[in-house]
């Protein structure tokens, strides 16, 4: 019944889901860094940076991820010649997909962190300023550590959405789960079974993430 699963080796079912995990992990880290930078820009005292942060978030949030991912391949790679340091089509597609996912997800990470910054009581920032800390010290030593702890829940939501969004990378031929599912479901007779197998794979990937990070967010929340 499950014979067809082993007929595929480029990618195999494990290889495909491993690719999904790699895409999720790397773009997760990337968008956390870029999103935090964007959030810092949006609350910074420099008007131009604030404007850039706001514009970036509002533009990127409203473009479909599919458009962004497709653009990284057809626009960035083909026209702008951004090859991401590899001429191998597969490696290049993988890196471009990460670039697109980071660019898109960072906008949501930024908004989550900014809402976290708003939950930190005013007194914290005032006290930090009173003892003479600069803006970057106030932000990195006082505000962000508390903000991060209060936004683990929302960030977990973003991570789960990111896990699901990695399937869009199939649009530029990255051999991950949706890519393999498309091949299988078109060639094999067991439509329902294939659907169930891949759905199960994603439930396994997203459910623990939600449970673990949900538990963590309760544990680490700043008691006020």
């Amino acid at each position: 019944m499950f014979d067809f699963l082993s007929d595929y080796d480029d990618p195999s079912i494990w290889g495909a889901f491993w690719m999904t995990v790699k895409l999720t992990a790397l773009s997760g880290v990337g968008s956390l860094v870029w999103g935090t930078l964007l959030a810092a820009m949006r609350v910074s005292p420099v008007p131009l940076m604030r404007g850039f942060g706001t514009a970036y978030v509002n533009i990127v949030r409203n473009i479909p991820l599919t458009v962004i991912i497709l653009f990284t391949s057809l626009g960035l790679a083909d026209i702008f010649g951004v090859t991401m340091g590899s001429s191998d089509f597969k490696v290049q597609g993988f890196r471009l997909a990460i670039l697109g996912l980071v660019a898109y997800t960072a906008a949501f990470v930024c908004e989550a962190i900014r809402s976290g910054i708003n939950t930190v009581p005013l007194g914290q920032a005032e006290a930090a300023r009173a003892i003479g800390l600069s803006f970057s010290q106030t932000l990195s030593l006082i505000i962000l550590p508390q903000a991060f702890r209060s936004v683990i829940g929302p960030l977990a939501n973003v991570l789960i959405a990111l896990t699901k969004n990695t399937t869009v990378a199939a649009a530029i031929g990255v051999a991950e789960a949706a890519y393999l599912m498309k091949q299988m479901i078109e060639n094999e007779a067991q439509t329902l079974l294939i659907g169930a197998v891949f759905a199960f794979g994603f439930v396994v990937l997203t459910l623990p993430t939600g449970l673990i990070l949900g538990w963590l967010s309760k544990r680490l929340a700043v008691k006020r």
Partner: protein, 294 residues
């Protein structure tokens, strides 16, 4: 809020801010210059590539039909998903375990798998087991995928909306002798609906964005799909991408603005006793929640 993070700038801070502004401006300018330069090198700035967008033909043959399909799929998905979502959302609040648990399982299941998988599956399912014509199939598949996913998201919105009402509402309804069904339809739902309207409207943004998946993966002729036909005819990859992105931004910006206008109006109006649910409130309601408006 942000001004609390730093003092009103003195002379030194002012100087530093100006310096940072200039440095950031130079960085941005360099990036823009590189983009402009590369586009020029690759001939993407040639007027011939942009000209189609000033003429009616590119719009009437490619962009507008594509946009119409995008909006049609999104509207259909919303109209079908709403009652389905309300049904599952209310079922999750049922007093009977045998209603609550299955409804919860269905909602959590469809929220945790990607829309793309649902679309691919629906597409193949219709091809093999139903008589849906090849012409119509992509639309059916896209709408099915969107409905399954968004109904479960809307179910959570409905649930959060009803839970946001003060307990006194249902207690008062029970005290005057209403049955459970009456309490729900006459007291709770009317108030909850106003509270969750902004969140429902913002979900429309997600639906509009997700239609683009169907265009690339299962050949649904929506905006992103007709873009590639257009780009093949006029050989204008970058201009067509920019135009399509701008169209999406404008549509979604209008929807978002409408949602926040609605939210502000409801907050001021005080018609309902519940909390007004913006997109952010719903995204954070459930620890195991499967992503808010992404």
């Amino acid at each position: 809020m942000s001004s609390v993070l730093y003092d009103a700038p003195g002379p030194r801070a002012k100087r530093r801010n100006v310096l940072l502004s200039v440095a950031f401006f130079i960085l941005l300018a360099l990036a823009l210059w590189w983009i402009w330069q590369t586009m020029d090198d690759k001939g993407q700035l040639k007027w011939a590539l942009w000209k189609p967008f000033t003429e009616s033909q590119a719009w009437t043959t490619y962009l507008l039909p594509g946009l119409a399909d995008t909006l049609k799929a999104a509207a259909l998905a919303m109209v079908i998903a709403l009652p389905l979502g309300a049904f599952f959302g209310i079922s999750r609040l049922s007093d009977h375990r045998w209603v609550r648990v299955p409804a919860g399982a269905v909602v959590e299941f469809f929220r945790s798998i990607p829309v793309l998988l649902l679309m691919l599956f629906a597409n193949e399912f219709y091809a093999r087991y139903t008589g849906v014509g090849t012409e119509q199939r992509p639309l059916y598949a896209v709408v099915t995928g969107l409905v399954l996913y968004n109904a479960s998201v809307l179910a959570e919105i409905v649930r959060a909306g009803i839970l946001s009402l003060p307990k006194g509402q249902s207690e008062a309804a029970m005290a005057i002798g209403l049955r459970k069904g009456q309490t729900m339809t006459a007291v709770l739902l009317p108030q909850a609906v106003t509270a969750m309207l902004p969140a429902i409207v913002s979900q429309m943004v997600v639906i509009v964005k997700d239609t683009a998946l169907g265009g690339v993966m299962i050949g649904f002729t929506e905006l992103l799909n007709t873009r590639s036909t257009l780009a093949a005819v006029y050989a204008n990859v970058i201009p067509s991408f920019i135009v399509v992105a701008v169209i999406f931004i404008v549509i979604n910006f209008l929807i978002t603005s409408f949602a926040s206008w609605l939210e502000g109006r409801l907050r001021r109006g005080k018609k309902s006793t519940g909390v007004v649910l913006g997109p952010a409130t719903v995204a954070g309601t459930e620890a195991t929640g499967a992503g808010g408006s992404i």
